[in-house]
């Protein structure tokens, strides 16, 4: 498994090459979300990296609006000859690189690409031009095990670095500094006033505003797993790490004891969803189970103590006089009664009430609005 490194202007390329880094990812202020190089610096860095035997990847993972697209594409075309590969997130940028350059392509699939069907479709589309797929850190170990062997394309995964939570194209920090946004780099830290979460690193730059998790992502202790999965590239994003510390982390990751990288890393770390991704299991708690209308036949609309209960017959259901019903209130209380009568809103007795009709039923003790009515025979 090779190590690819997200390069910063302050990093020492010679030392990185000496330590065994295989490849550097070089991002510019104009083309990438969080790259810090200007175009000329990026080209110079690429030249030096190549001379040191390192492979070079141009990071162009900005999301690009139509109004900027032509100038973005033009400047990108001027950059690509200096690099071995280019990686993009915006499908429009990928398509441009595919159509107008010969450079090897890396598809950044770290947002919204969490299934094999979709990843294989991207792989088929870009075909032999696709050199690598950058996988999402939201994929669990089980998912990675399922996906990686089934893709023809080599895969890459972040093993140590910041977790990007939010990216807006709007300038959100400069208004707080009292200065107009001049597209310079602003760093800040945020704490939620409405939840216990704090320490979110924040950045504003030319590409907009970013928020990161307070803890960084780390799979240093899981590198054996990743090797067993035949993951081809692990990525180190040293943002927030001094260059000499980053070199130590590189040493650790490429050593026989890669787990040491976790201790060398200056920030707290988590494994994210690597163990298991259960970020959908809480959804059922968003709904009140007493409000599950799947088998309900009517819903209480109005009730007053001692008065008839007004209900709406739900879609596809019927009420008929004499049937036995159970009322379930929103707090889960249940009560069964027999429908001795059903009346329409003009007070006429009905034998049957069809779907969507609003009708009155005999008083039901403790009836409440929004309570659901079920047919006892179908419980």
């Amino acid at each position: 498994m090779k190590l690819t490194y997200f390069l910063r202007p302050k990093d020492n390329l010679k030392l990185l090459a000496k330590k065994g880094v295989s490849e550097v990812i070089i991002g510019t202020l104009d083309h990438s979300r969080l790259g810090e190089f200007n175009s000329q610096q990026a080209i110079e860095a690429a030249k030096l990296a190549k001379s040191l035997g390192l492979k070079t990847v141009l990071l162009c993972d900005a999301l690009v609006g139509q109004r900027e697209f032509d100038s973005f594409a033009k400047s990108l075309s001027e950059m690509t000859p200096f690099f071995d590969a280019a990686r993009a997130l915006d499908p429009g940028v990928m398509q441009f690189l595919f159509d107008h350059t010969d450079i090897a392509l890396h598809f950044v699939a770290d947002t919204g690409n969490h299934n094999l069907v979709g990843l294989k479709a991207w792989e088929d589309y870009f075909a032999d031009r696709l050199e690598r797929i950058v996988l999402s850190i939201e994929l669990s170990k089980e998912s990675l095990n399922h996906i990686i062997p089934k893709l023809k394309t080599p895969c890459e995964l972040l093993v140590l670095g910041r977790i990007l939570l939010f990216h807006s194209p709007r300038a959100l920090l400069s208004p707080l500094s009292g200065e107009a946004s001049d597209q310079s780099w602003i760093d800040a830290v945020g704490a939620s006033e409405e939840s216990p979460h704090k320490g979110f690193p924040l950045v504003e730059n030319k590409q907009g505003s970013f928020m990161f998790l307070a803890k960084d992502f780390c799979l240093a202790e899981q590198l054996k797993d990743l090797r067993d999965m035949k993951l081809d590239f692990m990525r180190l994003d040293p943002t927030g790490c001094e260059p000499e510390v980053a070199l130590k982390v590189v040493d650790d990751l490429l050593s026989d004891q890669p787990e040491k990288a976790k201790d060398s890393w200056p920030n707290l770390v988590i494994r994210g969803f690597y163990g298991v991704n259960k970020s959908d299991v809480l959804f059922k708690k968003l709904k009140n189970p007493s409000r599950d209308k799947t088998h309900a036949i009517a819903e209480v609309l109005d009730t007053r103590k001692g008065d008839p209960v007004t209900v709406r017959v739900l879609d596809g259901a019927k009420l008929h006089s004499g049937m036995k019903i159970e009322m379930v209130s929103p707090d889960g209380k249940k009560k069964q009664i027999e429908l001795k009568w059903i009346r329409d809103l003009n007070g006429n007795n009905l034998e049957q009430a069809n779907e969507n009709m609003i009708v009155s039923l005999p008083p039901i003790g403790s009836a409440t609005c929004k309570a659901l009515i079920f047919d006892v025979n179908n419980l």
């Binding site: 947002t111 919204g112 990216h167 709007r170 707080l176 760093d187 970020s279």
Partner: protein, 401 residues
């Protein structure tokens, strides 16, 4: 675009969080509605539609000349695909007009299942013609552009891609690029791209700017709401095929009122070829009567700037003044499901499906068992004297804000 007219207009697509909201939106003029099934969408907490309700929804909408689009716009993990293929086939069989999808895996599955036509969700952040052409080759027939796209962008994307283009015209906005926010995933354990968004962007934050070491409290990630009413001419001129109203989780009052405003404005254009109606201020005023944050035109003309940030509490916008929708009409009364207290003799407004609001005084206020009442309580059903224009699903509201 609605064709065969002197002045063709875009389709108006309204949110339908429930069958009641669907009927309300359709009756107030939606040319199409969008809704979610029990799975595969982005509003896990919403009621959403079961199969029977989906059939009813399609039947009702089609009977009134409106289309139905179903959202399948979650980003799915492999384990989430169970049942998707059958669901897509069933949607086609039911007569659903289109599905709204973000995930390429879902697109492929819907195509293989022979499902309805596919619209690319705004969650996919399609922002340029190059991307639109790629998605076209993947099988989509329409792109819902990212909210960062301008109307000028839309015109270029439509012309260069040959795809139908849909854009938001009204409602709440993500501050992040849609589909590129995972705050809820890591802070709440709820996948925002599978329906669990906790709206953390609406929170107040304490911000420490590194260089100045000063701390400031701000709702710095909360966006104002989009209002495109005064840019309808530009939407039409850009050739936008469909105008989308956000808000499946919002109230019946919202669904009805916002749909009515945009439907009436578009109907005016259809006849006159312009939006220079005497009613433009009335329509703008109507949009201020539904729950909202401060309005912005966001990035429709220029990239959204500092004035697009809603630096305040979520929901501090003007409160709705809805008294309730009419749920039934009897021989001599209209039955109102009360959402806000009103009293006998109070001046109310009836919001007809078409045309100006009618002001009337509530009289003969009584319970459903015909006991006279002096005032109502929210959550109850009451009768008031019938007035012309009253019918099921018509909204009744207070005159004051």
């Amino acid at each position: 675009m609605t064709k065969n007219q002197k002045f063709p207009i875009p389709e108006l697509l309204a949110p339908a969080g429930s069958l009641e909201k669907l009927k309300t939106a359709v009756l107030y003029g939606a040319g199409a509605v969008y809704l979610g099934g029990q799975k595969f969408g982005l509003r896990a907490a919403a009621d959403n539609f079961n199969q029977e309700q989906l059939r009813k929804a399609v039947s009702f909408a089609h009977a009134h000349g409106s289309k139905v689009n179903v959202v399948l716009n979650a980003f799915l993990h492999d384990s989430d695909f169970v049942g998707l293929s059958d669901f897509a086939s069933e949607l086609k069989m039911i007569g659903v007009d289109a599905v709204i999808v973000s995930d390429l895996g879902v697109i492929k599955t819907v195509l293989e299942a022979g499902g309805p036509e596919i619209h690319l969700s705004t969650q996919a952040s399609c922002l340029n013609a190059s991307a639109a052409k790629l998605w076209k080759s993947m099988g989509v027939s329409r792109v819902v552009l990212g909210r960062e796209a301008s109307l000028a962008d839309a015109a270029i994307i439509k012309n260069e891609s040959g795809l139908e283009v849909e854009m938001f015209v009204h409602g709440s906005m993500c501050m992040a690029f849609s589909g590129h926010c995972v705050i809820s995933n890591y802070t709440q354990g709820r996948d925002s791209n599978r329906g669990g968004c906790a709206h953390s962007c609406r929170h107040e934050y304490k911000i420490a700017l590194n260089q100045s070491e000063q701390e400031k409290n701000a709702f710095f990630m909360s966006s104002k709401d989009l209002e495109g009413l005064r840019l309808l001419k530009e939407y039409v001129e850009a050739g936008v095929d469909c105008l989308k109203i956000e808000g499946r989780m919002k109230s019946v009052h919202y669904a009805g009122t916002v749909t009515k405003v945009y439907a009436e404005a578009l109907a005016h254009y259809q006849v006159h070829g312009n939006f220079l109606s005497d009613r433009i201020e009335e329509w703008a005023n109507e949009l201020r009567k539904v729950h909202h944050r401060a309005y912005t035109q966001a990035s429709l003309v220029e990239p959204a700037g500092q004035d697009s940030i809603h630096n305040g509490q979520d929901g501090e916008g003007v409160e709705s003044a809805v008294a309730g929708p009419i749920v039934a009409v009897t021989n001599d009364a209209m039955v109102i499901e009360v959402r806000r207290k009103f009293h006998d003799g109070e001046e109310l407004e009836l919001v007809p499906f078409q045309g100006p609001v009618q002001v009337f005084k509530a009289s003969k206020l009584r319970s459903l068992s015909d006991m006279p009442l002096t005032e109502t309580k929210p959550g109850s059903l009451v009768k008031i004297a019938l007035i012309p224009g009253a019918s099921e699903h018509v909204l009744v509201r207070s005159t004051g804000l």
